[in-house]
């Protein structure tokens, strides 16, 4: 088995608009190794979320893809929903920006994680409940045995995002895609979630794709970085290369635009 867990080659996503087809992702290639985090960074409209959705076959109707997306050597692109269903949430899982819109308000969080676990792994509800409690403990939700029977609105924003991470990790995926998972959170909560993700990754060896617009967040979590702009891959390299010796004007401009908390500021 090669080191490369996940390989994307020449991925292009075309959506149809009123004015004809538009390439929203153009010839994007990257790899994610086991235990590695790839950061995809870009401004709005750069195609970073579309890339993630394309990988899981979750694109809006009418979108077409070309290229190759392989997990452990298995081609995923062009597969039907039926073929992808056992992979989604199982081998590849995803955490989105807004946990409130991803969780069903009418069901307890325990039931929602359990449903997902039993869909992929089967087994009794009783056994699944134990797995869910462990998953909630793993993401440091205090008093997991009681919290499992609570509803999403009874959790704070940071705790909800922990629930989403527990759900994403309960089937031990080989790849986790996190799309702006900390963007809606307060800065102190964001720091806790980033720490949690890094720690879980080092214990489980899950490969991760971390999508964000925030370069500082990328710098603290990713080993490799892909910079995107209007669907184009602008720059791709190790985090150290991209941050210390960017090759492209756009990357340089982005880095210059980030407001700093520690530097001298001209007054």
């Amino acid at each position: 088995m090669s080191d490369e867990l996940f390989v994307v080659e020449d991925l292009t996503v075309t959506t149809s608009t009123g004015r004809g087809p538009v390439d929203v992702v153009k010839n994007v290639s990257f790899t994610v190794g086991r235990d590695e985090t790839l950061g995809i960074v870009g401004e709005s409209g750069s195609g970073k979320s579309m890339t993630a959705l394309a990988v899981l076959g979750l694109l809006p109707r009418g979108a077409r893809t070309s290229g190759s997306v392989r997990l452990d050597g298995t081609e995923l692109l062009g597969r039907s929903d039926r073929e992808l269903r056992p992979i989604r949430g199982n081998a590849i899982s995803m955490v989105f920006q807004d946990p409130l819109s991803s969780l069903n308000p009418y069901y307890t969080v325990g039931l929602q994680i359990e449903e997902m676990y039993r869909t992929h792994r089967g087994g009794s509800r009783k056994a699944a409940r134990q797995v869910v409690i462990e998953a909630l403990e793993q993401v440091r939700i205090p008093d997991a045995g009681r919290r499992i029977d609570q509803y999403p609105h009874q959790f704070s924003g940071g705790m909800r995002q922990r629930v989403m991470i527990a759900m994403a990790l309960c089937c031990s995926p080989s790849l986790l895609i996190a799309d702006e998972p900390t963007t809606a959170l307060d800065v102190t909560v964001q720091a806790q979630i980033l720490e949690l993700l890094a720690e879980l990754q080092s214990t489980t060896g899950t490969g991760m794709i971390f999508i964000t617009h925030d370069l500082a967040v990328i710098s603290s979590i990713a080993q490799r970085v892909l910079v995107m702009r209007s669907g184009d891959p602008v720059e791709y390299g190790t985090a150290e290369q991209v941050f210390s010796d960017p090759q492209h004007d756009y990357t340089r401009m982005l880095l210059d635009a980030v407001p700093r908390i520690d530097d001298e500021v001209a007054s």
């Binding site: 210390s244 635009a257 407001p259 700093r260 908390i261």
Partner: protein, 273 residues
């Protein structure tokens, strides 16, 4: 000169409690601060800290439960009629989401000159020319004054909001998360614009934001809020360089940073190029 004094302001909201009983929630708890003419005071805090409620009270968009707001030496806490109208002329607000704060059915010209017509001011050179002059000041193409908000990008739309705020020559502009929704490159441009406009016209800002790195670019003084109270208030140099309060320290430590070693290397390269 002290332009605005907020003294011991408290804001309570009633929330429906159990069995039809009402309970009160204190969003702002005994907050006091001054704003000097020409300075930028930033108010920072996490969600629920009371920073936006404080801004709304300072703008008289909300009435405080207790406390006073004094503007230009006049107590405006319960101002009505003409007095309130004068205050509304001197204090303008720029909101976070430019699209929801601009009427989609009005042209830019009509949006920008609305404060003038509310105040009954007829510009000598006419509304069109006034709108175009304001558009030029904020870096928009004046030929686009007949367009609608939807025809502009997010950054441009925020410039429209800023132009509208400037139409009546305010003494105080309150920016409530005015750059938070913008991409980082656009954010840098809008911050620069805000600072240039202040240098040109000498008005004050109250700058509400959750992003400490952004605040640090623009403010002279900063108030840190937590759970409805100001926990620390000082100059930018003091609060960012030598924070006194534990909460301020926690907040500053949590801000994600670009790896400083990599950043230093990059700048080194930039200089030698």
């Amino acid at each position: 000169m002290t332009l605005l004094q907020v003294q011991g302001v408290v804001k309570e909201f009633s929330t429906p409690g159990a069995l039809g009983r009402k309970s009160t929630f204190t969003a702002v708890d005994d907050v006091s601060f001054d704003v000097e003419l020409g300075e930028t005071l930033a108010v920072v805090g996490e969600s629920g800290s009371g920073k936006s409620t404080t801004a709304r009270i300072a703008a008289r968009l909300l009435e405080p439960t207790r406390g006073t707001v004094i503007f230009d030496g006049v107590d405006v806490t319960r101002a009505r009629g003409k007095e309130l109208a004068r205050f509304r002329n001197d204090v303008q607000v720029v909101f976070q989401d430019p699209f929801s704060s601009l009427n989609p059915r009005y042209t830019v010209e009509r949006i920008i000159t609305a404060p003038l017509s509310y105040q009954g001011i007829k510009p000598a050179e006419g509304y069109r020319a006034a709108a175009q002059e304001l558009m030029e000041r904020v870096g928009l193409n004046p030929d686009h004054c007949q367009r609608y908000p939807a025809q502009f990008s997010g950054g441009q739309a925020q410039r429209i909001g800023i132009a509208r705020a400037l139409a009546v020559n305010p003494k105080l502009v309150i920016c409530d998360e005015a750059v938070s929704a913008l991409d980082v490159s656009i954010q840098a441009q809008v911050l620069e614009l805000l600072m240039r406009l202040q240098a040109e016209s000498g008005f004050s800002y109250i700058f509400i934001a959750h992003d400490l790195a952004v605040v640090r670019q623009i403010c002279h003084r900063v108030a840190v809020m937590n759970q409805g109270r100001i926990v620390e208030l000082g100059t930018r140099e003091q609060v960012f360089g030598d924070p006194q309060d534990d909460y301020t320290r926690t907040l500053l430590a949590a801000v994600p940073r670009i790896n400083p070693e990599w950043d230093a290397k990059r700048r080194q390269r930039k200089v030698t190029l």
